[in-house]
Symmetry: none
Subunit: 221 residues, 4 copies
DNA sequence: CATGAATGAGAATTCATTCAT
DNA sequence: GATGAATGAATTCTCATTCAT
């Protein structure tokens, strides 16, 4: 419920997640229902956009009345909050493992891309929401962790690219920040068209992306 | 991305989106003011998202009251409409010129990417709006041209890629649709961070993007 | 202030307010728990106001869930009802005793004031609720006894004042209805600041009030 | 719109009153309409209680739709705010004049009581709201001035009483804080029954109150 | 007796839009 | 061209209440 990964230092913090009144009383309240509802909400948010999604729409989708959602959640905002922070927490579990593995730059990039597509596969809706709404939401203190996460993200990728340039693994003639943005966007935008039932498994998509990004699409002359 | 109205043959016809009653009456009313207002609206839409932007906010920014905007425009919707269709019309002017130039696949890709960054440079706000809102808006009949444009866009890029694979210019081992999406996203997402006053001119950004996409970021072994 | 149900003659009959279905079933269910819950509810009503108090808040304070309160009471309304009618019943027990004692006007006033402060001491919350909400509640038929009580109250005080004027005990130059309101308010408003743990016992406060009211605060010239 | 009197030091501060968006733009927006609407709102708040009053009820009374009120005011809360702060500002204008006049204790009390009844005459609804809701509202920072005002009020009355006791004008055998509360409540509660069209002018009511309070209702023996 | 989950009827508020001036 | 005042529909959220377990 809480929050995502935090950059400063390196440890994940769970900030936002103020226990909603109910939870305070009913900490044990069935987490399955909660998860179900959040999955539904994420789907709708991803499809229609956060602002354009009415609480009533989510409730309809869940087969209940709009007011009933408030038994489970404080507000519409706390729903996205929980969706995004849950996703980011998992994402950073994966990323941190990769970054701690001591791989070379090229292998690190490969692993991060692969990990990213796995996350897209498992949290497609959350990723799509993140892509579309993060900038907007990050303006609110409650979503400060989005900015934190982004900073940590940038640090990880930029660092790896720099290491690769130093190592001679990556080209030195490219603007490194431009390259970072290129990689970052390339990977995450995929959430907007990715369908888990599609013919490519996330690992296969990752492989092709890595191949394009590292070696280009042109035939080597 | 997408492309503007392109129903039948190959001739994009973006609905002029200028048929509000008032316009009927005041069609001659200074088009500069109109353009000014649309520029302001585009800026706000891009910054806050279409749904999250209130007409009041646009009016504030323009130094008038919300109601006064309705002298110039039919509705909030017709503002985005005009912003997007104007942009797409210009975009296709450029793209069509490139496609008609009879270049080879590699050169065509280079030219399309360059053209795209030029459009981002000139219509940053419109591109950002397009990126964020197109899917949403395209559901309404009024915005059918968004879907049309997208289809034409896909045709142009996919065709070029296929040609390149046939020619031996591009690698045959990559999924061509995946590659298309990769290229498309890579280019347009740049609108979300691009700043006209930044240190790179659009042509330089395009050059680097093309280089990464065609030749990869890894040092060739 | 007012007085409880007192429709016809002179015999106050406060509707027992205990006719909820559940009560029908569980009338024997521990009356102590019931009293505890009412005491809690009275405290919260007095502190926050009846309307501003949520059933949830009362339940929280009682360590249960909102729905659980409905095992004990029909409704939020029936809680105030029971609180107020219980209080008024006791109040009139005391008042009636005083009025039946055949005291002189001055002594009657003294006794009524003392009795009132004793009630404030014992039912502070109920008195505070009465003060703040009676007018509002009295509009509903269910709370008709509030109006009845008020009428009886007025009769008792006004009668005593008139008797005192006739007797020559009280000044004849004052508007008697104004004086009545003055006395009434003076006494009951004390419930808003009275704290049972305060340094004055109710009898001492009563003594000082009586002294001020009868003899004034100015030094007699 | 602004605020009331402030105790610290002695000067009136206008704190709350954050210009509502509209006002920011339209500071000149007809203040008569505003005043009309506030008068209506005050009436309803006084009659039904702040919480129990719906914005729709006020709008009905004003002959408009609920949403339309928001053209004039930020919120229901800002309506009470403006009602109370306007009242308190006027009240302190009067009080400060009295306190600055250098009267003796007895005359000061007389003047303050008279001034109070004049305020009740002119702002009956506001006074009634103040009486019923102040404690509740004062909990919010926005209404901090209520507490400030109350403190200043207490200082003025308590000081005068103390001076009177020292002077020998007032009895020394009474608890002075008790006496203060007695006076304060006695005066203000009158707002709950006062009707401007009643047969007593505020000055006459004040005279009788002063007489009762200073000299008592008993005939001097 | 109590919980957990829901209902349903508002409540306050927002906002695109209208229109007389 | 623009303002001021409003409309009306929708939106988020609240809360008393119900009821199966």
């Amino acid at each position: 419920m809480g929050s995502p990964a935090r950059p400063d230092g390196d440890n994940v913090r769970v900030p936002t997640a103020k226990k909603n009144k109910k939870n305070a009383t009913t900490a044990s309240a069935s987490p399955e229902r909660r998860r179900e509802l959040l999955a539904i909400a994420a789907e709708v948010f991803a499809a229609q956009g956060y602002n354009a999604t009415t609480v009533r729409r989510i409730a309809d989708e869940a087969g209940m009345l709009a007011g009933s959602l408030y038994y489970h959640f404080d507000s519409k905002e706390s729903m996205v909050d929980e969706i995004l922070s849950t996703f980011l927490t998992e994402l950073w579990d994966g990323y941190d493992a990769v970054l701690a593995a001591g791989l070379g730059p090229r292998e690190t990039i490969e692993a991060l891309v692969t990990e990213s597509f796995r996350e897209i596969d498992r949290h497609r809706a959350a990723v799509a929401i993140y892509q579309k709404e993060a900038r907007q939401l990050a303006a609110q203190p409650r979503f400060g962790y989005l900015t934190d996460s982004q900073r940590k993200f940038e640090k990880a990728w930029l660092g790896t690219l720099e290491r690769g340039v130093t190592d001679g693994a990556f080209r030195a003639d490219l603007d490194i920040r431009l390259t970072y943005r290129f990689l970052r966007d390339t990977v995450w935008v995929a959430a907007s068209w990715y369908r888990p039932e599609g013919r490519h498994r996330p690992e296969e998509i990752a492989r092709q992306y890595v191949s394009m990004v590292l070696d280009g699409i042109a035939v080597r002359g």
